[in-house]
């Protein structure tokens, strides 16, 4: 059930980011799902969603996938240093990840979008953590 729920969020984020917004929503969903589930199998979702986003944005295929996979790996590396299932971690990691993504792919309003991205990530974390963190 939780897999379907996450998948729904991811597809929704891909469609929104691919068509109407430049806020990196897919990155948020991947980050939050990774923090909650901590499964390396999430890389396959990062790969596929990156490719679909590249198609939507007329980018060279594989660019977004490399970014998403590398970002998840960095989050994994920080797992030992920080408590990852906290709001500050979600906020700062999504801020840094979002800002890097927007800078690398040449979007405008980097700072504003990164802040909005972090707020969305925190809200998503709050929503999903309540539902899934305690049940696992």
């Amino acid at each position: 059930m939780s897999k379907i729920f996450f998948l729904f969020f991811l597809i929704f984020a891909i469609l929104l980011e691919g068509t109407i917004t430049s806020v990196p929503l897919v990155l948020d969903v991947l980050l939050v799902v990774y923090i909650l589930k901590r499964k390396s199998s999430l890389f396959i979702l990062a790969l596929i969603s990156g490719i679909v986003l590249d198609v939507f944005s007329v980018r060279t295929l594989g660019l977004s996938s490399i970014f998403f996979i590398s970002f998840l790996c960095i989050v994994f590396l920080y797992e030992r240093k920080f408590e990852t299932t906290t709001y500050p971690f979600v906020f700062f990691s999504s801020f840094l990840g979002g800002a890097s993504y927007l800078l690398i792919f040449g979007y405008d309003h980097v700072l504003e979008q990164a802040v909005v991205n972090s707020i969305i990530a925190v809200l998503l974390f709050k929503l999903l953590a309540r539902k899934f963190l305690h049940s696992t």
Binding site: I20, L47, G50, I51, V58, L61, G62, C73, H109, V116
Partner: protein
């Protein structure tokens, strides 16, 4: 520890797969797969984009829409009259007929307009549902009626990315009357710069393209409407004056545009 090793193994496998996809894509070996994906996602994108614009707080009042359309037509007619005046004058002077401008226009649907706040923030790019398959090339101009929208900056098999004229990286030559200058995108509006201090420009003047189209159809044809001057910054101590230019187009409300393929 074992879980950590497993994680890194999976990471390296997936980063390697992504790199292979990237390299194959760069070398053009994934054209078929890319086309297949594009054909699948384009209707989805178009559906989401259309549905989004039907939201009650975003869809424009019908009367406002009609007035906006009439305004665009009137501006186009004004520009046409100005052009005809000049042509008439040239005809009288030189007794020769200038070649009428005629371009092949390809209608294209907008399937994506990624902007910070959808429907509010001015977007920097459009994604169109026409690509290399439809003979669209990088550098082709994009218009709506006689108004310039932008130019194609990237193409895939069935999609094209358009850089809108207000995009920060957009820059090209323009004119207002007989005065030449350079238009630069400022995110929401544009700046007409490099206008000599001795030149006379005023608020409300129409700004049009100077025309820098090559034989292959790359670039902008002349006399396309860019916008109107809304303010002028003239400092006697500087060599040039500059003006702020606003487009007549609401880039958030577009659904169809036209790509200028080449001169007939």
């Amino acid at each position: 520890m074992r879980q950590r090793e497993r994680f890194f193994l999976v990471f390296f496998i997936f980063i390697l797969v992504s790199l292979i996809i990237l390299i194959l894509s760069l070398w053009g070996h994934l054209k078929f797969a890319s086309l297949l994906l594009e054909k699948t996602v384009t209707p989805l994108g178009k559906g989401v984009y259309t549905a989004f614009h039907k939201l009650p707080f975003l869809s424009e009042n019908e009367e406002v829409q009609k007035l906006a359309d009439i305004n665009l037509t009137l501006v186009a007619q004004l520009s046409e009259i100005e052009k005809l005046k000049k042509e008439n004058s040239a005809l009288r002077d030189q007794f020769q007929t200038p070649t009428p401008e005629s371009y092949t226009l390809l209608p294209a649907n907008i399937v994506g307009v990624p902007s910070f706040i959808p429907g509010i923030t001015t977007p920097a790019n459009f994604i169109l549902d026409k690509g290399r398959e439809d003979k669209v090339k990088v550098g082709y101009g994009v218009v709506l009626k006689d108004n310039l929208i932008g130019k194609v900056v990237k193409t895939s098999s069935s999609l094209a990315k358009v850089e809108i004229i207000v995009n920060n990286s957009s820059s090209f030559t323009a004119k207002t009357g007989d005065v030449l200058g350079v238009i630069k995108g400022e995110g929401k509006t544009m700046t007409l710069g490099n206008v000599l201090l001795s030149e006379n420009i005023k608020t409300g003047d129409l700004v049009t393209t100077k025309g820098d189209m090559t034989l292959e159809g790359i670039g902008y044809p002349p006399n396309l409407i860019i916008g109107k001057i809304v303010s002028i910054d003239k400092n006697p101590s500087e060599l040039f004056q500059k003006a702020r230019v606003e487009s007549f187009i609401n880039f958030n409300k577009l659904s169809i545009v036209f790509i200028i393929l080449a001169a007939e």
